[in-house]
């Protein structure tokens, strides 16, 4: 029982981070059909900027705010300088643009920061508490609570605000949205800004547990993408679910089968899903009329 709870919490904690990355993927994909492989770099920036601002003497909340601002600025720059000029390019070209951007951001981070692993103290101490015999870090609760708050906030924004409705309209039909006067360019810029902020918050929440370095973005982007695919790409609920499922599968695979192949679980699952359920767990089956 204790082991089960332990693995469950470990899985949900990493799963929450994957879910946030997958959510960022989904937002940008919905607004533009761009698969943004630089998504993981936002998580890296969230963690790294906070670490260095904190070490420079800033209080932690201020350092975190600065990190989110840096990530959002990076996201907006990425949209303005790389995605927008490449408008109308093929999906493959756009994928490569975002991969180029992720290599660039990582390269710059390596110069500006360093190649070491870093962390800052957990928000509310490192003393684990006991739950059904398992030792749970308080920071795990921060990660889970933070992720839940973000998902809820994003839902409110999408359902209740005019801007959120504009985003959904653009996702549903870009041309029709433009015809009714929605500035789809603004919507896309907004999607990049929000995705970057979500990624950065994920990075800030999880850094006290997992540590961070300039290079953590790539594998996070790939796993977040796998999670988004697992849930059915373009579906926010699917993205969150896909992230959590992936995190749990990894934790249980590491605990019960082999920790060596923990990182392979995500990709094995993706292959199996593609072979058996090509539209993802929650994706609708696309029927095309000729």
């Amino acid at each position: 029982m204790a082991e089960l709870v332990q693995l469950l919490f470990a899985g949900l904690t990493t799963g929450a981070v994957y879910a946030l990355v997958a959510l960022g993927f989904t937002l940008i994909f919905q607004a533009s059909e761009v698969v943004n492989f630089a998504q993981g770099e936002f998580v890296m920036l969230g963690g790294m900027v906070t670490v260095f601002a904190f070490k420079a003497g800033l209080p932690l909340p201020l350092a975190a705010a600065l990190a989110i601002a840096v990530a959002v600025t990076t996201g907006l720059l990425l949209h303005r300088l790389a995605i927008e000029p490449a408008k109308g390019a093929t999906v493959v070209t756009l994928i490569i643009v975002t991969i180029g951007a992720s290599i660039l951001i990582r390269g710059l981070a390596q110069i500006v920061f360093d190649k070491q692993f870093h962390a800052f103290p957990a928000f509310t101490g490192d003393e684990p508490f006991r739950l059904l015999g398992a030792a749970i870090l308080p920071q795990s609760l921060w990660v889970l609570g933070g992720a839940a708050a973000i998902v809820f906030g994003l839902w409110l924004f999408m359902e209740r605000t005019l801007l959120g409705k504009a985003v959904r309209a653009t996702a549903a039909n870009r041309l029709a949205a433009e015809l009714v006067g929605i500035d789809t360019r603004l919507v896309l810029a907004l999607a990049f800004a929000v995705s970057a902020a979500i990624g950065a918050v994920g990075g800030i929440l999880v850094t006290p547990i997992t540590l961070t370095s300039y290079a953590v973005g790539t594998i996070l982007a790939l796993k977040g993408f796998a999670a988004a695919m697992l849930g059915g790409i373009g579906n926010p609920v699917g993205a969150v679910l896909g992230g959590l499922v992936l995190g749990l599968l990894e934790a249980f695979a590491a605990g019960w089968i082999s920790s060596t192949y923990k990182d392979g679980v995500a990709f094995l699952v993706i292959l199996l899903v593609l072979l058996a359920m090509p539209q993802g767990l929650l994706g609708r089956r696309a029927v095309e009329r000729v």
């Binding site: 300088l81 790389a82 000029p85 490449a86 390019a89 999906v91 493959v92 070209t93 994928i95 490569i96 643009v97 991969i99 180029g100 951007a101 992720s102 290599i103 660039l104 951001i105 990582r106 390269g107 710059l108 390596q110 110069i111 790539t218 790939l222 993408f225 796998a226 695919m229 060596t260 192949y261 990182d263 392979g264 995500a266 990709f267 094995l268 993706i270 292959l271 593609l274 072979l275 090509p278 696309a286 095309e288 000729v290």
Partner: protein
């Protein structure tokens, strides 16, 4: 990109000319080594160019096949006592078989699902190479025995430059013929309208599968050549970054252009050698270049230049 006999001769002729000129202009062993690497990468990029240009599909894990070819060549002699060349042959078969098994169900789907599947496949191959230390040597890599052909010890940058050059020419010749074959024509028809092509009875999925398997075998061939040439391989050959490099070669050179794949391979192989001068900035510069190329020269170098030439001729 219908390739008539004239285009074929033009592509093969220019490749032959360049491969003859390089040793005259840059005779130093270092330069020949880099040039041999260019030819090896070009073989892999060629296969991918066929997949992207003809089948309109992209593989984000193509280095996985590179890794299979390279490690088959390294492991066959060590664990099975096989000849390196025979091991490489086994590697090609294994890569082709894997591509067939994975590609068959996936290529029936629409969209870029192959990209996702290959992405996963590539990372799994890399993970196995890193983790199975007793067999593969793990992250530290593994030695590859020297190739001997009928008592001739194949060694030296000049020899390898010649071998890889010949292999590339053969690979390019085969690729050009494939573009002209029934599969090539079927797939070109599919670019115009997939629906129309399937209505007239083109088995879309089967033709895409053929090209995917060929692309995988090309990559494994490049991997095997690299192992024999370098005499040492690490799991990096199968890494995600290598896959991205391969895709970038194809896109920078010009998607679907045979000559473009070679130009892209040359650029992405030579550039990092030049960039080692800036060591710290290597990654940042590489990322920046990729973005700039994609934004400003979207159709790629070779089609871009060809477009310029025709426009000038028309004016």
């Amino acid at each position: 990109m219908a390739s008539g006999t004239r285009t074929k001769l033009l592509v093969l002729g220019s490749l032959l000319l360049v491969s003859l000129l390089v040793p005259l202009l840059f005779p130093s062993p270092f330069h020949l080594r880099v040039a041999a690497l260019v030819w090896i990468n070009a073989v892999a990029a060629l296969g991918l160019a066929l997949l992207m240009g003809l089948a309109g599909q992209v593989s984000l894990g193509h280095a996985g096949f590179l890794g299979i070819g390279a490690y088959a060549t390294a492991l066959g002699p060590k664990h099975l006592g096989l000849d390196p060349l025979a091991s490489m042959g086994l590697g090609l078969v294994a890569a082709g078989l894997l591509a067939f098994l994975v590609g068959r169900p996936i290529l029936r789907l629409k969209g870029h699902y192959l990209a996702v599947a290959t992405l996963g496949l590539g990372i799994l191959v890399h993970l196995v190479l890193v983790s199975e230390v007793p067999i593969t040597g793990g992250p530290d890599g593994i030695q590859v025995p020297r190739l001997e052909l009928l008592g001739w010890r194949v060694a030296g940058p000049a020899t390898w430059y010649g071998i890889t050059g010949i292999v590339l020419l053969l690979a390019a010749w085969l690729a050009l013929n494939l573009e002209d074959s029934s599969t090539g024509r079927a797939l070109r028809a599919l670019h115009d309208s997939e629906v129309a092509a399937s209505v007239v009875g083109v088995d879309v999925a089967r033709h895409k599968l053929v090209v995917f398997v060929i692309a995988a075998v090309y990559a494994a061939l490049a991997g095997g050549l690299f192992a024999l040439f370098n005499r040492f391989v690490t799991p990096d050959v199968a890494g995600f970054l290598r896959s991205i490099e391969l895709v970038t070669m194809v896109v920078i050179g010009g998607m679907g252009s045979i000559l473009g794949a070679v130009v892209g391979a040359a650029l992405l192989t030579v550039l990092p050698q030049a960039l080692t001068l800036f060591h710290e900035y290597e990654h940042a510069v590489l990322g920046l270049l990729i973005i700039l190329f994609m934004v400003f020269l979207r159709q790629g170098i070779v089609p871009g230049i060809a477009g310029l030439l025709t426009r000038r001729r028309a004016a």
